[in-house]
Symmetry: D3
Amino acid sequence: MDMNTLKIVAPVLPNLPWEDRPSGCAAPLWRYSKNPVIPRDLLPDSNSIFNSAVVPFKDGFAGVFRCDDTNRRMALHVGFSKDGIHWDIKTEVLRFTGADPEVAEWVYGYDPRVTLLDGKYWVSWCNGYHGPTIGLAWTEDFETFHQVENAFLPYNRNGVLFPRKIGGRYAMLSRPSDTGHTAFGDIFYSESPDMEFWGHHRHVMAPAAFEVSAWQCMKIGAGPIPIETSEGWLLLYHGVLRSCNGYVYSFGSALLDLDQPWKVLSRSGPYLLSPQTPYECMGDVPNVAFPCAALTDSATGRIAVYYGCADTVTGLAFGYIPEIVDWTKKHSIL
Amino acid sequence: MDMNTLKIVAPVLPNLPWEDRPSGCAAPLWRYSKNPVIPRDLLPDSNSIFNSAVVPFKDGFAGVFRCDDTNRRMALHVGFSKDGIHWDIKTEVLRFTGADPEVAEWVYGYDPRVTLLDGKYWVSWCNGYHGPTIGLAWTEDFETFHQVENAFLPYNRNGVLFPRKIGGRYAMLSRPSDTGHTAFGDIFYSESPDMEFWGHHRHVMAPAAFEVSAWQCMKIGAGPIPIETSEGWLLLYHGVLRSCNGYVYSFGSALLDLDQPWKVLSRSGPYLLSPQTPYECMGDVPNVAFPCAALTDSATGRIAVYYGCADTVTGLAFGYIPEIVDWTKKHSIL
Amino acid sequence: MDMNTLKIVAPVLPNLPWEDRPSGCAAPLWRYSKNPVIPRDLLPDSNSIFNSAVVPFKDGFAGVFRCDDTNRRMALHVGFSKDGIHWDIKTEVLRFTGADPEVAEWVYGYDPRVTLLDGKYWVSWCNGYHGPTIGLAWTEDFETFHQVENAFLPYNRNGVLFPRKIGGRYAMLSRPSDTGHTAFGDIFYSESPDMEFWGHHRHVMAPAAFEVSAWQCMKIGAGPIPIETSEGWLLLYHGVLRSCNGYVYSFGSALLDLDQPWKVLSRSGPYLLSPQTPYECMGDVPNVAFPCAALTDSATGRIAVYYGCADTVTGLAFGYIPEIVDWTKKHSIL
Amino acid sequence: MDMNTLKIVAPVLPNLPWEDRPSGCAAPLWRYSKNPVIPRDLLPDSNSIFNSAVVPFKDGFAGVFRCDDTNRRMALHVGFSKDGIHWDIKTEVLRFTGADPEVAEWVYGYDPRVTLLDGKYWVSWCNGYHGPTIGLAWTEDFETFHQVENAFLPYNRNGVLFPRKIGGRYAMLSRPSDTGHTAFGDIFYSESPDMEFWGHHRHVMAPAAFEVSAWQCMKIGAGPIPIETSEGWLLLYHGVLRSCNGYVYSFGSALLDLDQPWKVLSRSGPYLLSPQTPYECMGDVPNVAFPCAALTDSATGRIAVYYGCADTVTGLAFGYIPEIVDWTKKHSIL
Amino acid sequence: MDMNTLKIVAPVLPNLPWEDRPSGCAAPLWRYSKNPVIPRDLLPDSNSIFNSAVVPFKDGFAGVFRCDDTNRRMALHVGFSKDGIHWDIKTEVLRFTGADPEVAEWVYGYDPRVTLLDGKYWVSWCNGYHGPTIGLAWTEDFETFHQVENAFLPYNRNGVLFPRKIGGRYAMLSRPSDTGHTAFGDIFYSESPDMEFWGHHRHVMAPAAFEVSAWQCMKIGAGPIPIETSEGWLLLYHGVLRSCNGYVYSFGSALLDLDQPWKVLSRSGPYLLSPQTPYECMGDVPNVAFPCAALTDSATGRIAVYYGCADTVTGLAFGYIPEIVDWTKKHSIL
Amino acid sequence: MDMNTLKIVAPVLPNLPWEDRPSGCAAPLWRYSKNPVIPRDLLPDSNSIFNSAVVPFKDGFAGVFRCDDTNRRMALHVGFSKDGIHWDIKTEVLRFTGADPEVAEWVYGYDPRVTLLDGKYWVSWCNGYHGPTIGLAWTEDFETFHQVENAFLPYNRNGVLFPRKIGGRYAMLSRPSDTGHTAFGDIFYSESPDMEFWGHHRHVMAPAAFEVSAWQCMKIGAGPIPIETSEGWLLLYHGVLRSCNGYVYSFGSALLDLDQPWKVLSRSGPYLLSPQTPYECMGDVPNVAFPCAALTDSATGRIAVYYGCADTVTGLAFGYIPEIVDWTKKHSIL
């Protein structure tokens, strides 16, 4: 599949960060040679910066970053960048406004995603409210963030909005969880008429069988905002394998039906990227590659994926969407 | 508090099952002397009948019963009774109609609750859809049950509707769970404009501290449909203590704010009833007393509580609502 | 199916213990009204007598009994009976002879089975040899027991011989285990040319899906010696369900192919018997019904099943083999 | 051994509760035929009364009782009795006085022991201070109880004083534990010059090997105050076996060296008593027999053992000390 | 001990891979300076290549390699090499032929060993058949592999054949396991007259006591094919220590009796090699050094050990067998 | 705070190891650029050298070092150094003398601390006596070490003496534990009149709430000997966070009341140092930074902290005590 046959519904983004495929590399995704693109100590008191979300904004990029401080408290911070590589992250933590007092109290928040949707930038994140659930807020300027109700009951993580309404309703993927280091996890789909009440919950994907695709055999969760293509929604998602020495987070790709996204059209057996470099294998949580955002240039099909590395730093990886779509279909385990 | 000062919003129900308080008993709730009121083998192939829901219906009572068969498959059955004690339970399992095919497939269902709400009998139950969640359906005749969407994402149990809209919205209590014998559990409150989409989730109660009220220190969950009184919603709820020999399920009471039911006005430190009789202590799951329904006579303040015993049979217990309200306030741990 | 159409390959045994089906009972198996047939303290120092094996012997019956003493050490004892109900169990423990010194040392042994095979009474039991495995021995007189090699590597339990060679080889069912209270367990089939070396291992049955037959959803294991019928080998087997309060052991039935016994022809969804009486629900391990032996009268089709109750005492249950075969086929979950 | 040869260092106590050995009983200990001697609801708000300590006091008996209320909060209560069978337990909880404010705050307390020592009645109990540890207090009148420092760091349970100084120092047995349902437990010995500072810790006994004495193979702990005899300190102690359905608490006996009580002279392989009656097998924690006190008449050698049953009620058992000493030596596993 | 006194029963193998001991190194085994000798991505789609087996073949070497693909499916591949360092591994997976259809179905296979035995190259591996067990096959040309019956019932791993019959029978070491990340593991010995039926199981070694040799205190398993010497079978075996951060796999050596190999003559307390380099400490499973094969030159006593590193790549280590034999005896913990 | 306002009660120690703060570093503690200061293989047979204690001695320094050998047996060794950086560690293990034979037997010992106290060098360590507890010994010459009684009952770790009597008594911090990789842990304070009997146990600190300071949210334990300052005892202590991939050990600081050291005056929310370098993140136990000793120069306020890295090697970090005191107060979570 190439750019002539695959339609990508996304803006033209000529300034997305980019580095050509290294010679000899046949993989559909390759790492940025200067990874990690964001070091753990970019902020004066940051212990780690990872699992963060970026979008095109004005003539550059904006983002919501997970920055744990040296108390190892989880917090969100706003950042801006001209080139998507050098980031100016605010030292003060992001605080939301406007929520009902009962849910507005900040306990903790992490692993944000951001998408432009109906003219606003919507942020979803794992929000502490008597356990982890999915927080929601919107901004127009990355200065004031208007928090709305939590989408779901606890315990939930990895809530990821679709970038447009589907069938007239807002749509979100999420992974129901438990209160700890959850050892299970499927991806579900939910709908809302108003971003306030949610229902029509549908099961999307379970972990794969161990014999079929072991890197995703314990739990899975949606990664960046799904990318609309003529072949379906392209979803990058993480998968977890539990070895005798803990969890290993890799990520792969799937194509979801455009109108009924809980129907999976194809799903990659191989991972797109698994933790193999020192900055992915060594850090606060070794062996984690966890994507939360992707920038797409519909003109060239280029994609730049931001992913957390070892829960410590942020990495970048590059690819071409048509190639990834082809590869997903070719290596599908469905 | 007596019937002159406490207003109970419920029908007059002179035919509710009843037995006077035994002499010498000072407890706010006492067991029916002929317990278990429903034996395990009332149906030809039933292994157990428990955790079931009854409501006034026509000139008697109707109910939805959890009847596990001798495969120990969980199923729901409809039953009718003139006196609330002798039940005619249908041998065929209850099947719902009308749901979206994606959620209509029956996997398993258990622990139903039933309430009359806006002229229909609404059933909520723990419904198997890629894990346990809250199923919803309504009937007008206890013959045809119209299933609607599952209220929440998995994993959830003990979804209990309020018997009227609150603040213009349907309201439900539930206990988010995990995929197994969940070792945690708080009660949450959720709202819906339409029984289809749910939101505005609020935390109601966490388990109590071990030193304060140990029978409810591991997890709690709503029991029968809350009863509206002038002192607040009277909620009977179960609590679980984990000993070195497993879980013990008892139940107590709480009063919730009428308009903001997530605000707890009082909460009993003592249990109302804990497993102490052979039929509560011996059975498929020893040491379980688990209430799912209550009949109320607003004229006398009498209440008849149906509760599952040892996950095997069904018991009845009696009391006076004004006394229980008083007792709850007097022994509150808040 | 009746005695005209079902052929049972077993001796005529008019003196097997028996009690007619109680009126009103429709179940394929019913308990002896004087259960437990063997009390826990039949021996001066016995803590419990259960999970034991009996066979016709001379003009009565002989058996190998699991008798734990008041140290709660597990041991085997020989016993004799005229009527299968009143037993004379020897106070001294059974000791085997003739084994290689390396395996002859007695560590512990439990849950024996006995069958007449090629003119000898063969005993298999769970034998402690650096973990539980399957011990084997034979006797002709129930006085001297000749131990041979352990059949398998540890960790294994519930080794049950077939009462004749199949395809020219000895045949055994067993349940590979781990070192503790194993939370998994399938039944496997193995062959031996000589009772010394074993191979050709085949998988027979896994636990059933929770939604299909929950009483056998965690682990299963063969019970009494399989009974040869014209419809296949009738196997009674136990199944285990794990509740939040521990394991529950029930038992059901299956029909195995006569020539390839690893092929299951039918398998009961319902249990034949689950722990429901006080002597099954209360004792050293509550909620256990665990069959290890059955006496069969091929003339009448009667079967008397000996089963351990709560790991404390021994019970008897009765039925008709043709009815059980019919019932197994009718309620098969295959 | 008989009363002529065994010297028992204890008062003459002709009024200790007593019932002769039932005919046909050969066991060294037999149950009171009217057990449970103290029902669970002797107090208006008691959920259970068990694991309690009694001593001769004035012309009758006094005791410190574990009475959990219907919040299932653990508390201690004082009680008095003329005959050791009918008890008058105070409804108000026991409160200690005089301790340093830092340790005086009552959190929880359970499983008391009491002994007369140097003219005072000393109480030890499991005391909540940032986890369970051993609380200590003394009284002269069972009205005012003077609390001193906790003997040890958390986490500890079953602290049992010797009834006299040994080698010039106070002496205590205890069982170091963890914060939950501890799955291990040895008995240790400690000394103090002043009941304030403790040291010279010695290991006394570990759980027995599974193959040797399974009822005590997971953890053990001292029971009543040791009884001084010419054959050593007679210690009754509980042992725990973990089945697939939880913990089983039985108790046996040991003889400790008079001068170096950490040296075990003999230790019973069989249990003296294991949970076998309905009131021991059914209750808040099934299958528990847990002795905390014993009354001894040195004139006759009689002993009356108070033991908790199923963590719910209190039972009595009787025996003759010379017989128990003999039996312990005869069945010793050392 | 030197080459004059120690007899090694092995071919002369002058072309085995080799690198002299680094100066200053006193250890009996040293790493290849160019480790890892096989990188994780030698195959186009390989995620990792490790835990693999090599033997002399024709004028060079052949091997069976564990190559997990980027689905992280485990598979076996054949490879050839002239020098034992540069390997040509086939991209297609190894498929066996000739087995009974019931066991022939490929589910998964890993951790192979290969030995020349009676003129054929025998492969044993961990073979998925309703759980892990020991698969067996032979080849003469490393092109066609004839699978025979699985040697044992599940659950088993690390099945390692001896290179000749012992006492007239084939002989194998193995480590019975459970279904997951087994937390226990002893080495057992089994015999077979025909490679089809196995018996005469003997216990060889348990994990060492924590205080004696902690690196092998949780489980142990045989490594390469045992090497016959005049001092006994030299067995390299792995041992596992569980830290708070997971399992650590090291390896040591033992000498087994030539005729009764279940009798251990000496056993090293120190490890020969533990994970200390980045390629051993970082990868899919950190801190793993796992030997599966060794090449031996009987003329010089040289040994080249292939071992898996971090479950990701393959390393080489070198030594002299006489030195290792001496060292094993000198540092024996027996 | 500076040297003019903060009084440090410690010797003048101009020769303590030192390296100035790197330019651009704002942290209160910085690593030695030549870390690790002690490699794992400094001894011929050492597997690792870490968690060790040093003090000024004569014109240089002496220390007690945890040196695990290649059996991975834990042992203590004595060492000497002129500059605190280059160490001469004795190859023979440290053996204590003079203890009661019952406790003198060496089982294992690790994680020592050393302080000069009343003219003697006192060593405390985790000592194996039927489980881990706190061993105590003193020396005057680092040649003969006189062992006294274990301070506490098992199970205890991280026993740390104060360098002078407080309120006329010896004082120690410790962390009661369980028998394994304890998943809980508070710091307690105990007193002794004579180093023989201990009591007056007080709770000092519990782990912090996850939302407040996650690096210390699972367990905490005292590190080096507390340093007396005019602002209180400066305590460096480790804290543990459990991720899905195991424990992470960091360390921070607290100020304790001079006279009542169980009263915490301030406690750092941020860590002083967390594992971030390869030698802290990679090794036998990845992600461990564990301080056991500190050298202090009261003239300059300099502090040199020795800390174990990945349970493998020893690192050094430097700082100024007045800065650390200020920082602790400024970032206190109390």
